[in-house]
C-alpha cells in the first residue's frame, strides 16, 4: 500500500515537473517573441517572462533530481533539449509568421487584378493627409467575411503607410459600442477620421455600403470622408417646400438621407425668415437647394440670394408648373427675370409635351438627348439611365448674348416633336393639350440647364421638374430603384454644384467583367466526363497493376 502511494506521488511530481518544464520554456520563448514583436518590455512581456521563470522553478522544485539531471544525465537532457528545441522552433516560426503578417507581402495572381488597388483609388489615397480608420463590426460568425474584407482593408493600410488604419469590433462582445455606431448587420463597415489622440471621431462616421464592388465602395467612402464636414448643403423650407424629413411618397427624405450618407452635411434653412431679419445665407453653404417651392421670391429674398451668389454660392432649383397665383419662378416674376438677366437661364411657363419619347402619356417626358460634355450629364446615358419627368417645365437658356463672365449650357433635351403647351389653364382644368402654331413653343425644348459665373464661382442648375426625386419616384415601396437616371441627375447636380467632383475624380472600376462563361456541346461534355471519370483513374490503376505484376514476377 505504502509503495503504491509513494509511486503515485512520484508520478504526480514528475508530471508536475514536466508541466513546469514545458510551461517555463514556452513562457520564456513567448516572452522573447513578445519582446521582439512589441519592441519594448511591456507588462504582458514581463508577465510572460515571470510565468516562464515560475514554470522553470516549478520544474526544479517538483523534480529536483530531474532538474539537476538536466545538467548531468543524458536522457533527461535529451528529453528536455527535445522539448526546448521544439518550442524554440515553434517560436521562430511564429515570429517569422507574425513579421510577415505585419509586412503584408501579397501577390495578386488573378487576371482581373482583384486584389490590387486601381489607379483611381491610388490617386484618391495619394491626396489623403489626415488619418482615417476603417472600423468593421464582425462577430465570430462572420469571421470568414472579415478575413476576406481584411485583405482589402490591408491594401489601403499598406498603400497609405498606415494613414488608414483598421479596427475590428465584435458587436456581440461590445454591444454598447455597436449601438453607438448604429450597427445594423454583422459585417458592417464604417469609416471615420482619427483624432490626434488616436481615437475615432464619431462625428465624422460614415457607413461603407456593402456591394459587389468592394474597392469602389471603400474608395468612394474614403473620398467622401476626405471632404466630409467641409461641405454643407442647405434645403430651403421657407417657400412652402415639403420638409426634407417627409417620408411620404411626395417627400424627399430618401435623397436627403442619401446626401447625408455621402458625407455631406445636410441642413435646412428658411429663406423667408433670413430675408425678414435682413440676414444672409450661411457662408458655409456649399449649395442651397430649392426643391419645389410653392411661392415666388420677394424682393428682399432675391437680394439675399443675389448676395449669396455673388459670394460664389450655388443653387439647385427644382421647379414645376404650378396652377396658382405667383408660383415659384413665374416666367414674368422678378426672380426669373433676375436669373435670366444675371445668369442667362430661367423658367418658361410651358409644359413639355413630347409625343416623340415619353412614358404613359406625352407628359411623362423621358430624356431624349443629353449633353454628355457637361459634368452633370456625364453618367446620364439615355440608353442606360434615362430620366423621367412627369409634367416637366420647359426652361430657357441663353446660349449667346449671355451676361459677362457667365457660361451656360443645356443638360437634357427633348425630341424634335416636343412642344411647350402654354395654355396652362386648359391643361390644368381639362388635362387636354395640343400644339397651337404660333402660340405654343416649338421643340426641341430644354428641361435641365446650368449656368456659372466663371469669375465669382457662382453655379446654378435649373431642373424643370419639382418632384422627380420624390420618394415615390426614385424607389418603390420595397426599396427597388425605379428610375436610375433621376437619382443620378440629382446626385451629379449636387456633386457639380458643390465641386465634389473635383474631390472624387475617379471612375467606378468594372469588376467581374472579365471571365467568359462556359459553353460546350453535349458531345464535348460526354467526352470530358469519359476522360476525367473513367479514363484517367482507370489508366492510373492499370499502370499500377502493370508495374506491380511485372515486379512481383521477379
Amino acid at each position: 500500500m505504502k509503495r503504491t502511494a509513494s509511486a503515485s506521488i512520484v508520478i504526480r511530481r514528475r508530471t508536475l515537473g514536466m508541466l513546469g518544464n514545458i510551461l517555463g520554456v514556452a513562457g520564456v520563448v513567448v516572452g522573447v517573441i513578445g519582446l521582439i514583436w512589441t519592441g519594448a518590455p511591456g507588462n504582458t512581456v514581463i508577465a510572460t517572462f515571470a510565468f516562464g521563470i515560475g514554470g522553470i522553478l516549478l520544474w526544479a522544485v517538483a523534480t529536483p533530481q530531474e532538474f539537476t539531471g538536466f545538467f548531468s544525465g543524458r536522457q533527461v537532457r535529451f528529453g528536455t533539449m527535445a522539448i526546448v528545441s521544439t518550442i524554440l522552433l515553434i517560436g521562430i516560426v511564429a515570429l517569422v509568421y507574425l513579421q510577415l503578417l505585419r509586412a503584408a507581402w501579397t501577390f495578386d495572381a488573378t487576371q482581373a487584378t482583384r486584389y490590387t488597388l486601381s489607379p483611381e483609388t491610388e490617386r484618391v489615397l495619394s491626396r489623403l493627409s489626415s488619418p482615417m480608420r476603417i472600423i468593421g463590426f464582425y462577430s465570430s460568425r462572420a469571421l470568414t467575411t472579415r478575413e476576406i474584407d481584411d485583405q482589402f482593408f490591408r491594401l489601403y493600410e499598406t498603400a497609405t503607410n498606415g494613414l488608414i488604419s483598421r479596427e475590428y469590433i465584435d458587436p456581440d462582445e461590445q454591444p454598447a459600442i455597436a449601438r453607438r455606431y448604429g450597427v445594423q448587420y454583422d459585417g458592417q463597415v464604417f469609416l471615420a477620421n482619427v483624432r490626434d489622440d488616436g481615437t475615432v471621431d464619431l462625428a465624422t462616421l460614415a457607413r461603407v455600403p456593402r456591394g459587389d464592388a468592394q474597392e469602389r465602395d471603400i474608395t468612394e467612402a474614403i473620398a467622401r470622408q476626405m471632404i466630409a464636414g467641409r461641405l454643407t448643403i442647405y434645403f430651403d423650407i421657407g417657400l412652402g417646400e415639403r420638409g426634407p424629413l417627409d417620408t411620404t411618397q411626395e417627400g424627399i427624405s430618401a435623397v436627403f438621407a442619401g446626401v447625408q450618407e455621402s458625407g455631406i452635411n445636410a441642413r435646412t434653412l428658411d429663406l423667408a425668415q433670413i430675408a425678414a431679419q435682413g440676414g444672409d445665407i450661411p457662408p458655409d453653404a456649399s449649395a442651397v437647394l430649392f426643391v419645389r417651392p410653392l411661392r415666388d421670391l420677394t424682393e428682399s429674398e432675391i437680394q439675399t440670394v443675389a448676395r449669396y451668389l455673388d459670394a460664389g454660392g450655388a443653387l439647385l432649383l427644382l421647379t414645376d408648373v404650378l396652377f396658382s397665383e405667383q408660383p415659384f419662378l413665374s416666367e414674368s416674376g422678378a426672380f426669373n427675370q433676375f436669373l435670366l438677366e444675371n445668369y442667362g437661364i430661367g423658367a418658361l411657363d410651358a409644359v413639355v409635351v413630347d409625343p416623340g419619347l415619353s412614358a404613359q402619356t406625352p407628359l411623362d417626358v423621358i430624356s431624349a438627348y443629353v449633353f454628355a460634355e457637361s459634368d452633370i450629364a456625364a453618367r446620364l446615358d439615355p440608353a442606360v439611365s434615362p430620366t423621367l419627368f412627369s409634367v416637366a417645365r420647359a426652361v430657357d437658356v441663353k446660349l449667346s448674348e449671355t451676361p459677362s463672365n457667365i457660361a451656360t449650357g443645356r443638360v437634357i433635351f427633348t425630341t424634335d416633336q416636343a412642344y411647350g403647351e402654354t395654355n396652362l389653364t386648359l391643361l390644368g382644368e381639362t388635362n387636354t393639350f395640343q400644339y397651337d402654331e404660333g402660340v405654343d413653343l416649338p421643340g426641341p425644348l430644354t428641361t435641365v440647364a446650368w449656368s456659372t459665373n466663371v469669375q465669382t464661382g457662382a453655379k446654378l442648375v435649373l431642373i424643370g421638374d419639382g418632384d422627380f426625386v420624390a420618394n415615390g419616384r426614385i424607389v418603390t415601396t420595397d426599396g427597388a430603384v425605379t428610375v436610375p437616371g433621376n437619382g443620378i441627375l440629382f446626385t451629379d447636380s449636387v456633386v457639380w454644384l458643390t465641386e465634389l467632383s473635383e474631390e472624387i475624380d475617379f471612375q467606378p472600376q468594372l469588376y467581374g467583367q472579365a471571365l467568359p462563361l462556359i459553353f460546350v456541346s453535349q458531345q464535348q461534355m460526354d467526352l470530358i466526363a469519359f476522360i476525367t471519370i473513367i479514363f484517367m483513374p482507370t489508366a492510373v490503376l492499370l499502370i499500377g497493376i502493370g508495374v506491380w505484376m511485372r515486379r512481383s514476377r521477379r
Binding site: Q75, R551, S552, R554
Partner: protein, 246 residues
Amino acid sequence: MTDAMIEVTRLTKRFGDRIAVDHISFSAKPGEVVGLLGPNGAGKTTTMRVLTGFLPPSEGGAKIAGHDVVTDSLNARRNVGYLPERVPVYPDMTVREYVLFWARLRGRRDARARADAVIAQVNLSERRDTLIRNLSKGMRQRLGFAQALAHDPPVLILDEPTIGIDPRQVIEVRDTVRELGRTKTVLFSTHILSEADHVCDRVVILHQGRIVAQGKPSDLKRKLRPDATLEEVFLSIIGTERGAGK
C-alpha cells in the same frame, strides 16, 4: 589500447528501473572475432545496439574505431556493419536495389560496383534482380550479411546470425564469420557456446547484464579443466555467481 576497434568502458544501460547492461568493459582489436555469450536477456543485444549507435548508453561509453558512439556517433556508425537478429528487409525491393540503397546511405561513392561485389561475395549474384519477398530464409540471411558489408566497414556486429536457419547454413555462416574475421573486427553474439568455441578468438560472457568472464576460449576452459567445454565453463561461472550472490 588506442588501436582497439571496439572499446567499451563501464557501459551501462538502464530501461527505467531495470538495468540491462551493468558497467561492462571490454575491447576488440583489428582482425579479432569476439564472441558475446550469454543466455537470452543477458544484455547481448542491448550491448550491440549501443555499439551500433542505435541506443544511447545511460552511463559510460564505447568507441568504434576511435569514435565515441555518443559524441561522435555518425563517424562511429560509419565504421560499423550491423546484422540484427532478425534480418530487416524491404520485401518490395530487389536484392540489388536493397544492397545499393544501404551502400549509398552509408556513404559509398562507388555504390554500384560495391553492391555487385558484395552480392557476389554472399553468392546472391544469380538472384540480384529477385524481389526480396521471394527469397528463402537462408538467402535472406546472406542478404543480411551483404547489407552489413555494403559499405565495407572495419567493424562488424552480428546479432545471433545463426539463429533459425538450418544446420548446413549454420556452418556456412560460421565459415563466413571466420573468413570476415581475417580482415575485420567482428563482434558476434550467440547463446550457443560451441559456436563461440569454433569461431571466436576471444569470448565475453555476459550474465544478467554483467561480464562474468572473458578471455580466449582455450584459457577459460583451462581454468576449469583441460577438456571442459564452454558450456561447462559457463555453467560453473553462473553457478559461482549465484552462490556469491546469495
